[in-house]
Symmetry: C2
Subunit: 328 residues, 2 copies
């Protein structure tokens, strides 16, 4: 079997997650990892695979079928996405929801010019959660959709705490409010405020002699990040942080509650994820869609796509016949 040759661009948490996923998909092969750092300084898990500087990417134009972009959505992807899509098929997990239309347009233009495929915003949210919002809303046009996240680490919120004076290290968990989830599951279609839906649990390692009261106050009143939530702050040691908070679990629920017919019949559609490792799961989803990008490109298609545009069969290693016979 000819393998699909993957390049990983950016070797952080997601990049390592993608590397793990490639090893578990026998039709995939990691061809190179691209980095902005000195290639010699980057050691990767997979033996015998090159680490290449990003500036030398084009030298591998004929050796890579799909580039999986693992940069950040704030500043990396808006530049890298269109740039790389001009020369390679790409997949990314762009997750700044508000800027998706603009990013899609930019990737679309570059990918079409380069005759490549670019599938953007792949992962679990955006990604699998988006798909489930779409399917559920299409099936039940009259109803309400609720998305709950957690329990899981929010990198953005953890970073925000770390910027507070007197904070040495910190981690923040987003936690869905069980009562709200149960209320949604009951089918009552409640109106829920931000505060009703999620709690924020913060574990903070203070600098020696820091003003703990001031730190707690600074967190709880931080606009956008914490002020609209019920937030708990627990001070711990660096050792406790390492021992108990070094995994990256996450998950959540998409629930749609809707009505059909004329006798008020109600239906609940629920999709949930419980993930030991957010980056490994995200990497696994990215690799499925890399398979789809490869197939679409082979079929002569080009331009940007989202998960909404990809027929499910494209994601599977199995043939259409096998899928129909085994799991339809």
């Amino acid at each position: 079997m000819e393998k699909i040759r993957i390049g990983i661009v950016g070797y952080g948490n997601i990049g390592r997650g993608v590397e793990c996923a490639i090893a578990r998909n026998e039709d995939m092969e990691l061809k190179a990892v691209f980095t902005r750092r000195e290639p010699e300084s980057v050691t990767i898990k997979t033996e015998g695979v090159k680490v290449v500087h990003m500036d030398d990417m084009l030298s591998m134009k004929d050796d890579i079928d799909v580039m999986v972009l693992c940069g950040g959505s704030a500043t990396d992807l808006p530049v890298m996405g269109p740039e790389i899509a001009a020369n390679f098929n790409i997949i990314d997990s762009f997750d700044t929801h508000a800027r998706i239309p603009e990013y899609f347009a930019n990737v679309d233009k570059a990918a079409k010019e380069g005759k490549n495929i670019g599938i953007i915003s792949v992962g679990w949210d955006p990604g699998m959660f988006s798909l489930n919002r779409l399917y559920a809303e299409a099936i039940l046009p009259q109803g309400s959709t609720y998305t709950f996240w957690g329990k899981g680490v929010s990198q953005g919120h953890s970073d925000a705490i770390r910027r507070i004076e007197g904070v040495k290290n910190a981690i923040q968990y987003t936690v869905p409010v069980e009562k709200a989830v149960e209320c949604v599951r009951s089918g009552s279609e409640p109106e829920l405020t931000t505060r009703d839906k999620h709690l924020r649990e913060c574990y903070v390692v203070p600098e020696e002699g820091a003003d703990l009261k001031a730190i707690e106050e600074a967190i709880k009143t931080m606009p956008n990040y914490f002020d609209e939530y019920d937030t708990t702050v627990t001070f711990i040691t660096e050792e406790e942080l390492k021992a108990e908070h070094s995994k990256m679990p996450h998950g959540g629920f998409v629930i749609r509650s809707g009505e059909t017919g004329t006798e008020r019949n109600r239906h609940i559609i629920e999709y949930s994820l419980k993930l030991d490792s957010n980056p490994e799961f995200t990497g696994s989803v990215l690799i499925c869609y890399a398979r789809a990008a490869y197939r679409l490109s082979k079929a002569g298609e080009s331009g940007a796509r989202s998960v909404f545009d990809i027929a499910p069969a494209m994601l599977s290693m199995k043939t259409a016949e096998e899928l129909r016979a085994q799991i339809l």
Copy 2:
């Protein structure tokens, strides 16, 4: 807005469910109901819509965009599917899993000759459950998938009980075993027998003077239907049956538990449905896929498809731009 003109073929439970779904989708219009009975004898819910004999279907070739076939999978659809696909775009909920490959091939041939689209096996299982098996398995190639059905009425099992001597009426519920579901959710990937996964609850109205012991014995030992399950039999009156068992609720769970990476990280993907009305929900899914069939046909495509082949965006009333901006 030009509406998508739907024909319903067969006016049983599913046909009525489809009728309800059309009324809740503003881009859809019910054009006619086709029946094998005398059209005058069939009264439908929607005002001003024709009931037409199946033999006169071709007279409406230019008036219908998609035919939703609501016949049974055992004998109706294998004949009707290919026959009607030769002249119309069709959607059906063919659910004899073992015969899907053969049925797909027959519909494919007829639909291609007629330049139509035929989307087969649409509903929730096969249908939404199949999709979730595919997505979850593609994301986590190393793992196990479990499907649980219920609590819900099994028409086939209810019919089997009604054929027993001394039984006047009966209804059978398939019930997932809570302990098994919890075990699967824990990620332990248990091996489960048929008996471990589901219970069968039977509510039976006996004929006057019938031998209750004999009925119970006949049910519990019935091969294929009940002998491999833990089965309970409760005798009730016709009035109780009407009052407490006339709704058609159903639902179930698709759960995949799988591993990623090298540190045994585990992930649980769960999709669940809790349905007040099985036929109304199935009808709602069929109507989404009727929209996709219409769009594919307009785009010049033809042949058979399953839910695996349909890009999710095809199902939604929203445009690709709206979907990306609002729910990606």
